[in-house]
């Protein structure tokens, strides 16, 4: 069995384990701890160059209040939701359909189409910066939430389709055939047989895409200029003053901005069910 359970390891490993594990954990979490500590640091600490030492006092309340008072972070977070939620729904819904088609039907060019979806993932998105900006400009979608959503949906659907297609291929095909012989229409097979079994895949993909899109900074700065469409990742930058970097505020804002993906994960957690198709077929 791999990895060996810690109870069966040699004694010195068992001794070292409870000591080393917390250390490893702290090292791993150090950046996050740094941000968290900075977010409660009084502004004077930063002015005095106390970036990594113990905070001279607790200024959490002031800092977090300042984030909401001095910047339109509420609007930014709302924008982020306006971009992320439709993107997740759009990309996952489209990829459920395209994944089903690619997994279940054999048609001319099907394999080529699938490889196109896969190949799309290998395009470094930075090279798309100028053409995509020009495209959104000419479509009148520059500096709008819609423009961001459309681009994200288009760009994420490739990976989602790959993911969904592979998941559906793993489902017992006899289920689809059984439904066909029973006279169930193809759409209803998708809706009532395949879709319920895709729940774990939909949940996993939703969390993944939510996090991807929520954390996107690149396109938020390329396709948006004004406050009215600015997502929180790019918007946080405005917390820095024109002359002074207000790291304590940026840190506090970052933590606030990081909460929704975490919440999303816990919301979706109960759908990550292994063995949903248990009992469908023998063995």
């Amino acid at each position: 069995m791999f990895p060996t359970p810690i109870q069966k390891a040699p004694p010195w490993v068992r001794m070292a384990y409870p000591l080393l594990l917390p250390i490893a954990l702290i090292v791993w979490l150090l950046p996050l701890i740094g941000v968290a500590v900075t977010s409660v640091r009084p502004v004077a600490d930063l002015a005095a160059g106390n970036y990594f030492g113990l905070p001279s006092g607790f200024a959490g309340v002031e800092n977090y209040t300042a984030v909401f008072r001095d910047s339109p972070i509420g609007l930014y977070i709302l924008n982020s939701f306006k971009v992320t939620v439709p993107t997740v729904i759009g990309a996952v819904a489209l990829s459920c359909l395209s994944g089903f088609a690619l997994a279940v039907y054999r048609f001319r060019g099907g394999t080529v189409l699938f490889f196109l979806f896969v190949a799309g993932n290998f395009i470094p998105f930075q090279i798309l910066m100028v053409p995509v900006r020009d495209l959104t400009l000419s479509m009148g979608l520059y500096d709008t939430v819609t423009g961001l959503v459309l681009f994200h949906v288009a760009f994420q659907t490739g990976f989602c389709t790959l993911f969904m297609r592979n998941f559906i291929v793993g489902l017992p095909f006899a289920l689809i055939e059984a439904a066909r012989v029973e006279g169930v229409s193809e759409w209803r097979i998708f809706r009532f047989v395949v879709l319920p079994l895709m729940r774990p895949a939909i949940a996993a993909l939703s969390v993944l895409i939510f996090t991807f899109v929520w954390n996107d900074y690149f396109w938020a700065t390329v396709l948006v200029q004004g406050q009215q469409a600015m997502p929180v990742t790019a918007g946080l930058y405005s917390l820095n003053g024109q002359w002074v970097a207000a790291w304590h505020l940026v840190s506090a804002g970052s933590l606030v901005a990081a909460l929704p993906p975490v919440a999303m994960f816990f919301l979706m957690q109960r759908h990550f069910i292994a063995g949903l198709t248990l009992g469908a077929t023998k063995g």
Binding site: A178, E182, A280
Partner: protein
């Protein structure tokens, strides 16, 4: 009425011919079993009838209507899969009623038919369970229930019992037969198990390498195999096949020289004299050889191994020319490996096959 008619049906998978022109008529209300070794195309043939694979050439009609290019949903057939293929996220009740619900039947009708099917298959206490909470036999019954409620004219079974243990298989076999008598629908049943084929079918179709070898009632196949393949496939333990030389004798008889030079005279009144030749094969079933040496001719060989099954003993004997023969003897037979055994041959039960493996003489004990 649901007579099934296949005419010159062919199926090619990626350049490989899997079904090589099958002509077959299955009478309305028949229980027809497709049997053959793995890869002979029996499941493919069933899937062609179900519409799950496209027929490349030839035609298929069900109940007189051409179904060659019709979608599976419109063929009026129900299929039970080897893997059961139950919808894992639905309860037993929903599994059984799903097809009816999706095709727009009223809830009251679905409820009534589900209840009837559940009673028939003794699934009543399980209706609210999910497939994962059922045993193999129960899942199998749900799969059958799902087929029954649609009241189809044709049932297709794809090795439905192969995942069950031996005792359950015997029980389900009788239940399926009872079901066939109740419903009087046409049933096609695919299996590689010739015991299932012999016990359940009223017509057996023996398939090999995509071709029909023989079609007939179980005992006809047993007593009058048309060729070496059917002779070897039907019956357990398998028929003994011995290389022989045959020469025609007077008044419709033929003299066959057995391994070891023993001559055996067979009655072959209807066989033309010219068919007899060297290099022929004689087939005789283990139960038609006697370990006591009594018979129309006697072979002598050395016992290689014995299998004591209680009710009977199978004795494998090495003959003088190195060929082997199996003798089915009484359960109390005393033969031991190394013994010399005299084997009596019953001439009336001998089959004779020509160089091409086709039967020219069938020793049908019934006639």
């Amino acid at each position: 009425m649901a007579e099934i008619c296949l005419r010159g049906v062919r199926k090619v998978f990626g350049g490989v011919s899997v079904i090589k022109g099958v002509d077959l008529t299955i009478a309305d209300g028949a229980f027809c079993v497709f049997v053959g070794p793995s890869g002979c195309g029996k499941s493919t043939l069933l899937r062609l009838i179900a519409g799950l694979e496209d027929i490349n050439d030839g035609s298929l009609s069900i109940g007189g209507a051409d179904m060659t290019r019709v979608d599976p949903s419109d063929r009026g057939v129900a299929m039970v899969f080897q893997s059961y293929a139950l919808y894992p996220h639905m309860t037993v009740r929903d599994n059984i009623g799903f097809g009816l619900k999706m095709t727009g039947h009223p809830a009251s009708l679905i409820e009534e038919r589900t209840r009837n099917a559940a009673r028939m298959l003794r699934l009543d206490p399980l209706l609210d369970r999910k497939p994962a909470q059922l045993s193999g036999g129960q899942r199998q019954r749900v799969a059958i229930g799902r087929a029954i409620v649609r009241e189809p004219e044709v049932f297709l079974f794809d090795e439905p019992l192969s995942n069950l243990d031996a005792a359950l298989r015997v029980q389900m076999r009788t239940e399926l037969l009872a079901l066939h008598q109740d419903l009087k629908a046409t049933m096609i049943y695919v299996t590689h198990d010739q015991v299932e084929a012999m016990t359940m079918a009223d017509t057996i179709v023996v398939l090999s390498a995509g071709c029909v070898e023989q079609i007939g009632a179980p005992l006809d196949l047993y007593h009058r195999p048309r060729n070496l393949f059917v002779a070897g496939f039907i019956g357990s333990p398998t028929m003994n096949i011995l290389p022989v030389t045959a020469a025609s004798a007077d008044d419709g008889r033929v003299v066959v020289t057995l391994p070891g030079g023993v001559a055996l005279t067979l009655r072959a009144p209807d066989v033309p004299r010219a068919s007899f030749d060297t290099g022929m094969r004689l087939g005789i079933r283990p139960e038609h050889l006697s370990a006591t040496g009594m018979g129309d001719a006697t072979l002598t060989g050395r016992v290689r191994l014995t299998e004591h099954l209680g009710s009977e003993t199978l004795i494998v004997v090495t003959l003088p020319d190195g060929a082997e023969a199996t003798v089915k003897a009484d359960g109390l037979a005393q033969a031991r490996p190394g013994d010399t055994l005299a084997i009596g041959v019953n001439a009336a039960a001998c089959h004779l096959f020509d160089r091409d493996g086709l039967a020219i003489l069938n020793g049908d004990l019934r006639s």
